[in-house]
Symmetry: D3
Subunit: 132 residues, 6 copies
């Protein structure tokens, strides 16, 4: 999950005005707590947050592929907030619904039925992002 | 967790009229999202959901034992929704309170104190099912 | 997590009158469910709960260090309730904000970005405890 | 996993003279280290080991069912040693090959393909136990 | 992990004659145990193995991307055998060393330092595959 | 786990000439693979390895306490290599056998019986370190 700091300059709100209340609350809490955490100036935490952002930058792999990697890793580790973050980023990167479901299907096969509740919430969240 | 599709013909609401609001909401969300997910026609996901239902059918082991197996696996993996699903199924299969607590105790020993918050919610949910 | 039974005689409410509603609700649910679970008289569960309390008592290591150990173990296993419990105990034992953040930073390095959502909630909870 | 102390009086070697070298080594290491650990007289560890043995004793559920519960919990948590221990106990309790594979199938569905390497080793170990 | 059955027709040995002994042993054990497991004719297990193969077939995402997804999921769940399987498939699909390390880096960030021992073994294994 | 790079200047071999073959092999593999990984110059991986070393440096908490935190986190996540690394560091920092067992007991209570095989190997390894 690249979840520490928003990618600089990323137009997080680009795909719609009327975001769901849940997504808006998720973003607000994340931003408030990130500010409080980074303000503590713990060197290890602050560098980790910065490094977390770097891991998803374009390299040999493009950003879209890296976000799919972050998404499937978050799904098999069953972290709803991390899944939500990467869903938002995938939507921003233009991931199609078919590509999304194939990524989720790999997470489901690897992680098993224990992943299903997170899969449901992911698909629900994706619908919110599509309706934007 | 057999959580993809409800067992065909299973009288899910057999043991009481006045279900708790939480259980009702859990069922409604599960049914709505299952329909949306299956409607996407991703072959891997749809076959997985069907297979998930098959795993708990009667075979060399009876259904009750299989549900206890699903319950303890869900508990040590600490998935509340999966635990809730199997609690509902265990209640339908006539699992006694003693058998339930012994199953939970094995999950607690195997998984450790990290399981306790899920154990509390499981026992709370079981009470709702008993009051049905 | 020492979460089964409150440490005997521990003044859990010592550092402030106006606890947050979330913390109060967490305590109330824990106490109600612990009573129901222990009342079931399942030998394994009841002994486990008692043993859980013993693990954090003073020995070669002092109580404060043991609570930090319980906190970091709960954080990397990503159990919010367990983290909350140990944060309450750490506050009672006089853990400083610097020591807390260093403990969290080790959990973050060991457990990775998947820990971040739990880190945010932990810091949010710690603020509530400080405000008492 | 009931792995701390061997069930008192359990005829662990009942089903065959010529055990595999791997199983024999597993048992020897377990016994040697259990003795060293228990000899340390750490109260929490020693009581945990004793309690671990109690969890699989006959109660509302019979011993065979409890061993299957321990097996599936160990499988989804992907602990080869724990799986081996419960396979030995299942063989002692007369679990059939069909019942074993159904239990493994539930672990596979719940835990996903990540479980497969452990499933392979479990089936390999079961063959050793059958050949005795 | 697509680990149940080898992709039909996949030239698994395409990139080199002299495979390492460890890789050869890994393949031999996998093939022997898959044959034994599938020969048991447990419906759920056999269908799962077949489905596992389908998840990595070309769709909206190409096979190479899907193998990277399987690799990162296996890495954060810390399954060495699953990682090895996907490394073999990634090599077959022409994944470059740079793309491999970027995928591993995302697994490291998401999963934390606990991933490092698996990262070391993955890079060691990749070297064997490159030397073919 | 602080496992990326050895603490600068740490006299890793300070407590004995005749180390066990297993420990020596562990160190040799770690050093060889760390060199190969760092030589790849992947920015995210290299910075993570450096940061991993920083997390255990003296701050508000002393080094010994931080190593105990790394140990318990590694134990509940069940990573033998990570446990071994922190055991070596704990021995270097003068952790007593009593303090070690209390730390392990907390990992056991939090993580459950699934931790026991790792506990056995940890105690076995500690004996090797004591015999130096």
């Amino acid at each position: 999950m690249s979840d520490g700091v928003a990618p600089s300059g990323a137009p997080e709100h680009a795909h719609g005005e009327a975001q769901s209340a849940a997504l808006a609350e998720f973003r607000a809490f994340r931003e408030r707590m990130n500010a409080e955490i980074l303000g503590e100036n713990n060197l290890v935490i602050n560098r980790f947050f910065a490094l977390d952002g770097r891991a998803y930058e374009r390299g040999a792999l493009d950003v879209k592929t890296k976000e799919l990697l972050g998404l499937v890793a978050s799904l098999v580790l069953r972290c709803d907030d991390c899944v939500t973050y990467h869903l938002v980023r995938c939507a921003e990167e233009g991931v199609t619904r078919d590509a999304l479901f194939e990524t989720l299907s790999i997470g489901l096969i690897v992680g098993g039925s224990i992943v299903i509740p997170h899969l449901r919430r992911a698909v629900d969240r994706w619908g919110e992002l599509e309706r934007g």
